[in-house]
Protein backbone atom coordinates (compact mmCIF):
# COMPACT_ATOMS: atom_id res chain seq x y z
CA UNK A 1 0.00 0.00 0.00
CA UNK A 2 1.20 3.42 -0.79
CA UNK A 3 1.77 5.83 2.04
CA UNK A 4 0.18 9.24 1.59
CA UNK A 5 1.20 12.25 3.67
CA UNK A 6 0.12 15.88 3.46
CA UNK A 7 2.58 18.67 4.11
CA UNK A 8 4.84 21.24 2.53
CA UNK A 9 7.83 20.58 0.31
CA UNK A 10 10.81 22.81 1.08
CA UNK A 11 13.57 23.41 -1.41
CA UNK A 12 16.80 25.04 -0.23
CA UNK A 13 20.56 24.79 -0.47
CA UNK A 14 22.39 22.06 1.51
CA UNK A 15 23.62 24.49 4.18
CA UNK A 16 20.11 25.68 4.90
CA UNK A 17 18.89 22.12 5.04
CA UNK A 18 21.38 21.33 7.79
CA UNK A 19 20.00 24.28 9.69
CA UNK A 20 16.49 22.86 9.33
CA UNK A 21 17.68 19.48 10.61
CA UNK A 22 19.30 21.22 13.55
CA UNK A 23 16.07 23.07 14.40
CA UNK A 24 14.21 19.81 14.17
CA UNK A 25 16.58 17.90 16.45
CA UNK A 26 16.54 20.51 19.15
CA UNK A 27 12.75 20.98 18.71
CA UNK A 28 13.41 24.69 18.67
CA UNK A 29 9.98 25.34 17.17
CA UNK A 30 8.21 23.46 19.92
CA UNK A 31 7.84 20.17 18.06
CA UNK A 32 9.46 18.03 15.43
CA UNK A 33 8.32 19.35 12.09
CA UNK A 34 10.26 17.35 9.53
CA UNK A 35 8.05 14.57 8.20
CA UNK A 36 10.58 13.21 5.76
CA UNK A 37 14.09 14.06 4.71
CA UNK A 38 14.02 13.66 0.94
CA UNK A 39 17.44 14.49 -0.44
CA UNK A 40 20.27 17.04 -0.22
CA UNK A 41 18.09 19.95 -1.10
CA UNK A 42 14.53 18.89 -0.27
CA UNK A 43 12.68 18.29 2.98
CA UNK A 44 9.03 17.57 3.64
CA UNK A 45 7.65 19.40 6.67
CA UNK A 46 4.41 20.12 8.49
CA UNK A 47 2.33 22.89 7.00
CA UNK A 48 1.75 24.95 10.14
CA UNK A 49 5.39 25.72 10.97
CA UNK A 50 6.05 27.62 7.73
CA UNK A 51 5.75 31.12 9.17
CA UNK A 52 7.78 30.46 12.29
CA UNK A 53 10.39 28.83 10.11
CA UNK A 54 10.71 31.94 7.94
CA UNK A 55 11.14 33.98 11.09
CA UNK A 56 13.84 31.70 12.42
CA UNK A 57 15.70 31.82 9.14
CA UNK A 58 15.41 35.59 9.20
CA UNK A 59 16.89 35.65 12.69
CA UNK A 60 19.75 33.47 11.58
CA UNK A 61 20.51 35.82 8.69
CA UNK A 62 20.35 38.81 11.02
CA UNK A 63 22.82 37.19 13.39
CA UNK A 64 25.22 36.61 10.55
CA UNK A 65 25.10 40.12 9.13
CA UNK A 66 26.83 43.20 10.38
CA UNK A 67 26.38 46.88 9.52
CA UNK A 68 28.58 47.62 6.57
CA UNK A 69 29.25 51.26 7.25
CA UNK A 70 29.31 53.48 10.24
CA UNK A 71 26.79 56.26 10.25
Amino acid sequence: MVNVLKGVLVECDPAMKQFLLYLDETTALGKKFIIQDLDDTHVFILAEVVHILQERVGELMDQNSFPITQK
Binding site: M1, V2, V8, L9, Q36, F44, V57, M61, S65, K71
Partner: protein, 478 residues
Protein backbone atom coordinates in the same frame (compact mmCIF):
# COMPACT_ATOMS: atom_id res chain seq x y z
CA UNK B 1 4.91 30.75 -1.41
CA UNK B 2 5.84 34.00 -3.08
CA UNK B 3 3.22 36.55 -2.29
CA UNK B 4 4.60 39.40 -4.34
CA UNK B 5 2.31 41.03 -6.81
CA UNK B 6 3.71 41.71 -10.22
CA UNK B 7 2.72 44.84 -12.02
CA UNK B 8 1.62 43.89 -15.48
CA UNK B 9 1.70 46.59 -18.08
CA UNK B 10 0.24 45.42 -21.33
CA UNK B 11 1.03 46.77 -24.72
CA UNK B 12 -1.63 48.38 -26.85
CA UNK B 13 -1.91 45.23 -28.94
CA UNK B 14 -2.27 42.94 -25.96
CA UNK B 15 -5.01 45.16 -24.68
CA UNK B 16 -6.83 45.24 -27.99
CA UNK B 17 -6.64 41.50 -28.39
CA UNK B 18 -8.58 41.10 -25.21
CA UNK B 19 -11.50 43.13 -26.44
CA UNK B 20 -14.44 41.35 -27.97
CA UNK B 21 -14.78 41.26 -31.78
CA UNK B 22 -17.78 43.60 -31.91
CA UNK B 23 -16.01 46.26 -29.92
CA UNK B 24 -12.95 45.92 -32.12
CA UNK B 25 -15.00 46.36 -35.24
CA UNK B 26 -16.67 49.44 -33.86
CA UNK B 27 -13.28 50.73 -32.82
CA UNK B 28 -11.93 50.36 -36.33
CA UNK B 29 -14.65 52.67 -37.55
CA UNK B 30 -12.51 55.58 -36.59
CA UNK B 31 -9.52 56.42 -38.82
CA UNK B 32 -7.41 57.58 -35.87
CA UNK B 33 -7.63 54.17 -34.23
CA UNK B 34 -6.66 52.38 -37.42
CA UNK B 35 -3.66 54.59 -37.87
CA UNK B 36 -2.58 54.12 -34.26
CA UNK B 37 -2.90 50.34 -34.50
CA UNK B 38 -1.09 50.32 -37.84
CA UNK B 39 1.73 52.34 -36.33
CA UNK B 40 2.38 49.73 -33.69
CA UNK B 41 2.55 46.76 -36.02
CA UNK B 42 5.89 45.04 -36.66
CA UNK B 43 7.47 46.16 -39.98
CA UNK B 44 6.64 42.98 -41.89
CA UNK B 45 2.99 43.20 -40.86
CA UNK B 46 2.91 46.83 -41.99
CA UNK B 47 4.24 45.71 -45.33
CA UNK B 48 1.50 43.09 -45.69
CA UNK B 49 -1.21 45.52 -44.74
CA UNK B 50 0.04 48.06 -47.25
CA UNK B 51 0.11 45.51 -50.04
CA UNK B 52 -3.42 44.42 -49.37
CA UNK B 53 -4.84 47.83 -48.66
CA UNK B 54 -6.11 48.55 -52.14
CA UNK B 55 -7.16 45.04 -53.07
CA UNK B 56 -10.83 44.25 -53.03
CA UNK B 57 -10.38 40.55 -53.71
CA UNK B 58 -9.03 38.05 -51.22
CA UNK B 59 -5.47 36.95 -51.82
CA UNK B 60 -4.53 33.24 -51.70
CA UNK B 61 -2.53 32.34 -48.61
CA UNK B 62 0.06 30.67 -50.77
CA UNK B 63 0.71 33.99 -52.50
CA UNK B 64 1.13 35.72 -49.19
CA UNK B 65 3.57 33.04 -48.06
CA UNK B 66 5.62 33.72 -51.18
CA UNK B 67 6.31 37.26 -50.07
CA UNK B 68 8.95 36.10 -47.60
CA UNK B 69 12.14 34.17 -48.19
CA UNK B 70 12.36 30.59 -46.98
CA UNK B 71 14.44 31.38 -43.90
CA UNK B 72 12.06 34.05 -42.62
CA UNK B 73 9.25 31.59 -42.03
CA UNK B 74 9.16 32.42 -38.35
CA UNK B 75 8.67 36.12 -38.96
CA UNK B 76 5.93 35.33 -41.41
CA UNK B 77 4.11 33.14 -38.89
CA UNK B 78 4.44 35.71 -36.16
CA UNK B 79 3.06 38.33 -38.52
CA UNK B 80 0.11 36.18 -39.41
CA UNK B 81 -0.74 35.59 -35.77
CA UNK B 82 -0.50 39.29 -34.93
CA UNK B 83 -2.77 40.24 -37.79
CA UNK B 84 -5.34 37.58 -37.00
CA UNK B 85 -5.23 38.33 -33.29
CA UNK B 86 -6.14 41.92 -33.96
CA UNK B 87 -8.77 40.85 -36.44
CA UNK B 88 -7.18 42.88 -39.16
CA UNK B 89 -7.72 40.19 -41.72
CA UNK B 90 -10.05 37.24 -42.23
CA UNK B 91 -9.73 33.93 -43.95
CA UNK B 92 -12.08 33.51 -46.83
CA UNK B 93 -12.74 30.73 -49.29
CA UNK B 94 -11.69 31.60 -52.82
CA UNK B 95 -13.40 30.35 -55.94
CA UNK B 96 -10.79 27.70 -56.60
CA UNK B 97 -11.32 26.25 -53.12
CA UNK B 98 -8.09 27.71 -51.76
CA UNK B 99 -7.92 29.66 -48.56
CA UNK B 100 -7.44 33.37 -49.02
CA UNK B 101 -6.89 36.35 -46.81
CA UNK B 102 -8.67 39.62 -47.03
CA UNK B 103 -8.31 42.71 -44.88
CA UNK B 104 -11.09 43.55 -42.49
CA UNK B 105 -13.26 45.87 -44.65
CA UNK B 106 -13.95 48.36 -41.89
CA UNK B 107 -10.28 48.60 -41.06
CA UNK B 108 -9.38 48.86 -44.73
CA UNK B 109 -11.71 51.76 -45.45
CA UNK B 110 -10.73 53.71 -42.42
CA UNK B 111 -7.02 53.21 -42.89
CA UNK B 112 -7.41 54.48 -46.44
CA UNK B 113 -9.19 57.54 -45.13
CA UNK B 114 -6.50 58.08 -42.55
CA UNK B 115 -3.73 57.85 -45.11
CA UNK B 116 -5.31 59.65 -48.02
CA UNK B 117 -7.54 62.16 -46.30
CA UNK B 118 -11.27 62.56 -46.56
CA UNK B 119 -14.01 61.43 -44.25
CA UNK B 120 -15.13 63.41 -41.25
CA UNK B 121 -12.65 65.75 -39.67
CA UNK B 122 -11.43 64.22 -36.45
CA UNK B 123 -11.60 67.16 -34.16
CA UNK B 124 -12.70 70.68 -34.73
CA UNK B 125 -9.88 73.15 -34.54
CA UNK B 126 -10.40 75.94 -32.11
CA UNK B 127 -10.42 78.45 -34.96
CA UNK B 128 -14.19 78.52 -35.04
CA UNK B 129 -14.13 80.10 -31.59
CA UNK B 130 -11.76 82.90 -32.54
CA UNK B 131 -8.32 83.42 -31.07
CA UNK B 132 -7.97 82.44 -27.45
CA UNK B 133 -7.41 85.37 -25.10
CA UNK B 134 -5.78 83.10 -22.57
CA UNK B 135 -3.66 81.12 -24.95
CA UNK B 136 -1.10 78.77 -23.44
CA UNK B 137 2.25 78.02 -24.96
CA UNK B 138 4.05 74.68 -25.03
CA UNK B 139 6.19 75.33 -21.99
CA UNK B 140 3.36 76.20 -19.68
CA UNK B 141 1.46 73.18 -20.96
CA UNK B 142 4.39 70.95 -20.09
CA UNK B 143 4.65 72.48 -16.66
CA UNK B 144 0.97 72.04 -16.06
CA UNK B 145 1.07 68.41 -17.14
CA UNK B 146 3.99 67.63 -14.84
CA UNK B 147 2.38 69.39 -11.92
CA UNK B 148 -0.86 67.51 -12.22
CA UNK B 149 0.80 64.14 -12.60
CA UNK B 150 3.03 64.83 -9.62
CA UNK B 151 0.00 65.65 -7.51
CA UNK B 152 -1.40 62.22 -8.32
CA UNK B 153 1.88 60.57 -7.35
CA UNK B 154 2.15 62.67 -4.22
CA UNK B 155 -1.28 61.55 -3.24
CA UNK B 156 -0.18 57.96 -3.61
CA UNK B 157 2.88 58.46 -1.43
CA UNK B 158 0.69 60.03 1.19
CA UNK B 159 1.82 63.64 1.28
CA UNK B 160 -0.85 65.56 3.13
CA UNK B 161 -0.65 68.52 0.78
CA UNK B 162 -1.81 66.55 -2.24
CA UNK B 163 -5.53 66.46 -2.72
CA UNK B 164 -7.30 64.72 -5.53
CA UNK B 165 -10.90 64.28 -6.44
CA UNK B 166 -13.06 61.47 -5.19
CA UNK B 167 -13.21 59.96 -8.68
CA UNK B 168 -9.47 59.75 -8.98
CA UNK B 169 -8.95 58.12 -5.61
CA UNK B 170 -11.68 55.63 -6.48
CA UNK B 171 -9.86 54.84 -9.67
CA UNK B 172 -6.59 54.30 -7.83
CA UNK B 173 -8.28 51.93 -5.44
CA UNK B 174 -9.89 49.98 -8.25
CA UNK B 175 -6.58 49.73 -10.03
CA UNK B 176 -5.16 48.01 -6.97
CA UNK B 177 -2.60 50.73 -6.40
CA UNK B 178 -4.07 51.84 -3.13
CA UNK B 179 -6.45 50.38 -0.65
CA UNK B 180 -8.80 51.86 1.82
CA UNK B 181 -9.91 50.46 5.13
CA UNK B 182 -13.32 51.32 6.40
CA UNK B 183 -13.45 55.06 5.97
CA UNK B 184 -9.75 55.80 6.58
CA UNK B 185 -7.72 57.67 4.04
CA UNK B 186 -6.47 55.36 1.31
CA UNK B 187 -3.00 53.93 1.77
CA UNK B 188 -0.63 52.52 -0.79
CA UNK B 189 -0.29 48.85 -1.69
CA UNK B 190 2.72 46.91 -2.86
CA UNK B 191 1.59 47.21 -6.47
CA UNK B 192 1.41 50.92 -5.81
CA UNK B 193 5.07 50.94 -4.74
CA UNK B 194 6.11 49.20 -7.88
CA UNK B 195 4.06 51.66 -9.88
CA UNK B 196 5.83 54.60 -8.25
CA UNK B 197 9.23 53.39 -9.28
CA UNK B 198 8.31 53.09 -12.95
CA UNK B 199 9.09 55.86 -15.38
CA UNK B 200 6.40 58.35 -16.32
CA UNK B 201 5.39 56.95 -19.69
CA UNK B 202 4.82 53.47 -18.30
CA UNK B 203 2.97 54.88 -15.35
CA UNK B 204 0.64 56.83 -17.60
CA UNK B 205 0.04 53.88 -19.82
CA UNK B 206 -0.72 51.53 -16.96
CA UNK B 207 -3.05 54.07 -15.47
CA UNK B 208 -4.88 54.58 -18.74
CA UNK B 209 -5.36 50.86 -19.16
CA UNK B 210 -6.84 50.61 -15.71
CA UNK B 211 -9.12 53.50 -16.48
CA UNK B 212 -10.31 51.84 -19.68
CA UNK B 213 -11.01 48.63 -17.81
CA UNK B 214 -13.26 50.40 -15.36
CA UNK B 215 -14.86 52.61 -17.98
CA UNK B 216 -17.59 50.19 -18.79
CA UNK B 217 -18.66 49.79 -15.20
CA UNK B 218 -19.12 53.51 -15.09
CA UNK B 219 -21.46 53.54 -18.02
CA UNK B 220 -18.99 55.13 -20.40
CA UNK B 221 -18.65 53.90 -23.91
CA UNK B 222 -15.29 52.19 -24.32
CA UNK B 223 -15.15 52.73 -28.07
CA UNK B 224 -15.77 56.45 -27.81
CA UNK B 225 -13.14 56.88 -25.17
CA UNK B 226 -10.54 54.87 -27.00
CA UNK B 227 -11.15 56.70 -30.26
CA UNK B 228 -10.86 60.00 -28.49
CA UNK B 229 -7.63 58.92 -26.87
CA UNK B 230 -6.13 57.97 -30.22
CA UNK B 231 -7.34 61.19 -31.71
CA UNK B 232 -5.56 63.08 -28.95
CA UNK B 233 -2.35 61.28 -29.64
CA UNK B 234 -2.39 62.61 -33.20
CA UNK B 235 -3.06 66.20 -32.22
CA UNK B 236 -0.51 68.96 -32.41
CA UNK B 237 1.11 70.21 -29.28
CA UNK B 238 0.24 73.80 -28.54
CA UNK B 239 -2.90 73.89 -30.62
CA UNK B 240 -6.28 74.24 -29.03
CA UNK B 241 -9.27 72.14 -29.96
CA UNK B 242 -12.92 72.75 -29.37
CA UNK B 243 -15.31 70.61 -27.41
CA UNK B 244 -18.08 70.95 -29.98
CA UNK B 245 -19.97 67.80 -30.64
CA UNK B 246 -18.61 65.79 -27.74
CA UNK B 247 -21.07 63.61 -25.90
CA UNK B 248 -21.67 63.57 -22.14
CA UNK B 249 -19.41 60.65 -21.43
CA UNK B 250 -16.66 62.16 -23.53
CA UNK B 251 -16.94 65.39 -21.58
CA UNK B 252 -16.60 63.48 -18.31
CA UNK B 253 -13.60 61.71 -19.76
CA UNK B 254 -12.14 65.07 -20.69
CA UNK B 255 -12.48 66.24 -17.10
CA UNK B 256 -10.65 63.17 -15.88
CA UNK B 257 -7.91 63.71 -18.41
CA UNK B 258 -7.65 67.24 -17.17
CA UNK B 259 -7.01 65.92 -13.71
CA UNK B 260 -4.22 63.58 -14.77
CA UNK B 261 -2.59 66.40 -16.72
CA UNK B 262 -3.16 64.93 -20.15
CA UNK B 263 -5.26 67.87 -21.28
CA UNK B 264 -5.44 71.49 -20.25
CA UNK B 265 -8.69 73.35 -19.95
CA UNK B 266 -8.84 76.70 -18.31
CA UNK B 267 -12.17 76.14 -16.62
CA UNK B 268 -14.59 73.27 -16.41
CA UNK B 269 -16.95 75.04 -18.78
CA UNK B 270 -14.29 76.18 -21.24
CA UNK B 271 -15.06 75.35 -24.78
CA UNK B 272 -11.53 74.69 -25.79
CA UNK B 273 -8.83 72.37 -24.57
CA UNK B 274 -5.14 71.88 -25.22
CA UNK B 275 -3.61 68.44 -25.31
CA UNK B 276 -0.34 68.26 -23.40
CA UNK B 277 2.83 66.40 -24.24
CA UNK B 278 1.84 63.54 -21.97
CA UNK B 279 -1.24 62.79 -24.03
CA UNK B 280 0.62 62.89 -27.31
CA UNK B 281 3.38 60.60 -26.20
CA UNK B 282 0.91 58.24 -24.60
CA UNK B 283 0.41 55.69 -27.31
CA UNK B 284 3.73 56.42 -28.96
CA UNK B 285 5.48 56.26 -25.61
CA UNK B 286 4.94 52.56 -25.05
CA UNK B 287 6.85 51.32 -28.08
CA UNK B 288 9.56 53.94 -27.74
CA UNK B 289 10.18 52.97 -24.14
CA UNK B 290 10.14 49.28 -24.49
CA UNK B 291 12.65 49.08 -27.29
CA UNK B 292 15.23 51.18 -25.50
CA UNK B 293 16.53 50.46 -22.09
CA UNK B 294 15.37 53.49 -20.17
CA UNK B 295 18.61 55.17 -19.25
CA UNK B 296 19.25 58.80 -18.62
CA UNK B 297 16.51 61.37 -18.67
CA UNK B 298 12.94 60.15 -18.61
CA UNK B 299 10.58 62.57 -20.29
CA UNK B 300 8.31 64.14 -17.76
CA UNK B 301 10.43 64.06 -14.61
CA UNK B 302 11.47 67.60 -13.86
CA UNK B 303 15.07 66.89 -12.90
CA UNK B 304 16.70 64.80 -15.55
CA UNK B 305 19.03 62.78 -13.38
CA UNK B 306 19.73 63.63 -9.83
CA UNK B 307 20.97 60.65 -7.87
CA UNK B 308 24.60 59.82 -7.20
CA UNK B 309 25.34 56.45 -5.64
CA UNK B 310 28.72 55.80 -4.05
CA UNK B 311 30.43 52.52 -3.33
CA UNK B 312 30.17 53.15 0.40
CA UNK B 313 26.38 52.77 0.01
CA UNK B 314 25.73 56.47 0.32
CA UNK B 315 23.19 58.12 -1.85
CA UNK B 316 23.02 61.80 -2.72
CA UNK B 317 19.80 63.03 -4.23
CA UNK B 318 20.08 66.55 -5.66
CA UNK B 319 16.44 67.45 -5.62
CA UNK B 320 13.88 69.58 -3.87
CA UNK B 321 10.84 67.70 -4.93
CA UNK B 322 8.95 66.11 -2.06
CA UNK B 323 7.93 63.26 -4.28
CA UNK B 324 11.43 62.28 -5.30
CA UNK B 325 12.61 62.49 -1.72
CA UNK B 326 9.74 60.29 -0.58
CA UNK B 327 10.61 57.76 -3.28
CA UNK B 328 14.23 57.66 -2.25
CA UNK B 329 13.20 57.28 1.37
CA UNK B 330 11.24 54.17 0.41
CA UNK B 331 14.32 52.05 0.22
CA UNK B 332 17.07 53.96 1.99
CA UNK B 333 17.62 55.70 5.30
CA UNK B 334 17.74 59.46 5.03
CA UNK B 335 20.60 60.89 6.99
CA UNK B 336 20.69 64.61 6.29
CA UNK B 337 18.55 67.03 4.41
CA UNK B 338 19.88 70.26 2.95
CA UNK B 339 18.21 72.88 0.78
CA UNK B 340 19.17 71.11 -2.40
CA UNK B 341 20.53 67.71 -1.37
CA UNK B 342 19.32 64.77 0.57
CA UNK B 343 21.96 62.40 1.88
CA UNK B 344 20.81 58.85 2.46
CA UNK B 345 22.31 55.47 3.09
CA UNK B 346 21.25 52.21 1.49
CA UNK B 347 21.32 49.62 4.28
CA UNK B 348 20.27 46.05 4.64
CA UNK B 349 17.40 47.03 6.90
CA UNK B 350 16.07 49.69 4.58
CA UNK B 351 16.20 47.48 1.51
CA UNK B 352 14.59 44.57 3.31
CA UNK B 353 11.93 46.87 4.64
CA UNK B 354 11.18 48.08 1.15
CA UNK B 355 11.01 44.52 -0.05
CA UNK B 356 8.69 43.57 2.75
CA UNK B 357 6.48 46.40 1.55
CA UNK B 358 6.38 44.88 -1.87
CA UNK B 359 9.13 46.27 -4.06
CA UNK B 360 11.69 43.79 -5.25
CA UNK B 361 15.32 44.09 -6.17
CA UNK B 362 15.08 41.69 -9.05
CA UNK B 363 11.85 40.94 -10.81
CA UNK B 364 10.13 41.49 -14.09
CA UNK B 365 8.96 45.03 -13.86
CA UNK B 366 6.18 46.29 -16.09
CA UNK B 367 6.17 43.52 -18.66
CA UNK B 368 5.36 45.83 -21.48
CA UNK B 369 5.10 43.22 -24.16
CA UNK B 370 6.50 39.73 -24.44
CA UNK B 371 8.00 40.68 -27.77
CA UNK B 372 10.03 43.50 -26.33
CA UNK B 373 10.87 42.00 -22.99
CA UNK B 374 14.56 41.47 -23.03
CA UNK B 375 15.99 42.75 -19.80
CA UNK B 376 15.40 42.05 -16.19
CA UNK B 377 15.54 45.17 -14.11
CA UNK B 378 15.25 45.18 -10.39
CA UNK B 379 12.87 47.97 -9.49
CA UNK B 380 15.16 49.68 -7.05
CA UNK B 381 18.03 49.33 -9.46
CA UNK B 382 15.85 50.51 -12.34
CA UNK B 383 14.83 53.53 -10.32
CA UNK B 384 18.45 54.36 -9.53
CA UNK B 385 19.60 53.87 -13.10
CA UNK B 386 16.88 55.99 -14.64
CA UNK B 387 17.40 58.84 -12.21
CA UNK B 388 21.19 58.72 -12.28
CA UNK B 389 23.01 62.02 -12.24
CA UNK B 390 24.84 62.95 -15.47
CA UNK B 391 28.14 62.54 -13.60
CA UNK B 392 27.22 58.92 -12.90
CA UNK B 393 26.23 58.31 -16.48
CA UNK B 394 29.83 58.76 -17.53
CA UNK B 395 30.83 55.62 -15.65
CA UNK B 396 30.35 52.22 -17.13
CA UNK B 397 28.41 50.45 -15.67
CA UNK B 398 26.32 53.30 -14.36
CA UNK B 399 25.80 51.94 -10.87
CA UNK B 400 28.79 50.52 -8.98
CA UNK B 401 28.73 46.72 -9.21
CA UNK B 402 29.17 46.39 -5.44
CA UNK B 403 25.89 48.17 -4.86
CA UNK B 404 23.90 46.28 -7.46
CA UNK B 405 25.19 42.93 -6.30
CA UNK B 406 24.64 43.68 -2.65
CA UNK B 407 21.06 44.86 -3.16
CA UNK B 408 20.27 41.67 -5.04
CA UNK B 409 21.92 39.58 -2.33
CA UNK B 410 19.89 41.26 0.38
CA UNK B 411 16.79 40.43 -1.53
CA UNK B 412 17.82 36.83 -2.17
CA UNK B 413 18.40 36.35 1.55
CA UNK B 414 14.69 36.23 2.01
CA UNK B 415 14.37 33.51 -0.58
CA UNK B 416 16.64 30.87 0.88
CA UNK B 417 13.70 28.58 1.47
CA UNK B 418 11.16 27.86 -1.22
CA UNK B 419 7.90 26.39 -0.04
CA UNK B 420 5.36 24.49 -2.07
CA UNK B 421 2.37 22.68 -0.66
CA UNK B 422 2.11 19.09 -1.62
CA UNK B 423 1.19 15.52 -0.86
CA UNK B 424 3.91 12.94 -0.43
CA UNK B 425 3.54 9.42 -1.82
CA UNK B 426 6.11 6.88 -0.71
CA UNK B 427 6.54 3.21 0.13
CA UNK B 428 5.43 1.91 -3.22
CA UNK B 429 5.34 -1.86 -3.34
CA UNK B 430 6.90 -2.12 -6.77
CA UNK B 431 8.77 -0.06 -9.31
CA UNK B 432 5.96 -0.56 -11.80
CA UNK B 433 3.37 0.90 -9.40
CA UNK B 434 5.60 3.89 -8.83
CA UNK B 435 6.09 4.52 -12.50
CA UNK B 436 2.42 4.25 -13.36
CA UNK B 437 1.45 6.75 -10.70
CA UNK B 438 4.32 9.04 -11.51
CA UNK B 439 3.44 9.13 -15.17
CA UNK B 440 -0.19 9.83 -14.40
CA UNK B 441 0.75 12.74 -12.16
CA UNK B 442 3.09 14.07 -14.78
CA UNK B 443 0.39 13.77 -17.40
CA UNK B 444 -1.94 15.83 -15.22
CA UNK B 445 0.81 18.38 -14.73
CA UNK B 446 0.72 18.23 -10.95
CA UNK B 447 3.99 16.43 -10.27
CA UNK B 448 6.04 18.70 -8.01
CA UNK B 449 9.04 16.50 -7.28
CA UNK B 450 10.12 12.92 -7.60
CA UNK B 451 12.93 10.67 -6.51
CA UNK B 452 13.16 7.55 -8.62
CA UNK B 453 15.80 5.81 -6.49
CA UNK B 454 13.68 5.93 -3.35
CA UNK B 455 10.36 5.75 -5.18
CA UNK B 456 8.96 8.95 -3.73
CA UNK B 457 6.81 11.53 -5.45
CA UNK B 458 5.25 14.79 -4.33
CA UNK B 459 2.03 15.88 -5.98
CA UNK B 460 0.35 19.27 -5.75
CA UNK B 461 -2.80 19.44 -3.58
CA UNK B 462 -4.97 20.30 -6.56
CA UNK B 463 -3.89 17.18 -8.37
CA UNK B 464 -4.07 14.96 -5.32
CA UNK B 465 -7.78 14.18 -5.63
CA UNK B 466 -7.47 13.08 -9.22
CA UNK B 467 -4.37 11.00 -8.57
CA UNK B 468 -6.02 9.30 -5.60
CA UNK B 469 -9.04 8.34 -7.71
CA UNK B 470 -6.76 7.04 -10.42
CA UNK B 471 -4.86 4.97 -7.87
CA UNK B 472 -8.04 3.46 -6.45
CA UNK B 473 -9.12 2.47 -9.95
CA UNK B 474 -5.74 0.88 -10.53
CA UNK B 475 -5.96 -1.15 -7.32
CA UNK B 476 -9.41 -2.43 -8.16
CA UNK B 477 -8.28 -3.53 -11.62
CA UNK B 478 -5.19 -5.51 -10.54
Amino acid sequence: MKLRVQLQCKNLHEYLKELSPEILDRLYNHPATCLAVYRELPPLAKNYVMRMLFLDQPLPQAAVALWVKKDSEKDHDQCVSVLSGLRLWHSQQLQGGLQGNILNPVFKDNLRIALLGGGKSWADQGDSLGPDRHARDVESLDKYALERWEVVLHFMVGCPSAAVSQDLSQLLIQAGLMRTEAGDAPCITSAGFQFLLLDTASQLWYFTLQYLNTAQTRGMDLVEILSFLFQLSFSTLGRDYSVEGMSESLLTFLQHLREFGLVFQRKRKSRRYYPTRLAITLSAGVSANSSSTAMGATPGTGDSGFIVVETNYRLYAYTNSELQIALVALFSECLYRFPNVVVAQVTRESVQQAIANGITAQQYIGVLVLLYMAELFGEILHFLRTRAHPVMLKQNPVLPPTITDQIRLWELERDRLQFSEGVLYNQFLSQADFEVLRDRAQGLGCLVWQNVAHRVIVVSPQGHGEVKRFWKRQKSHT
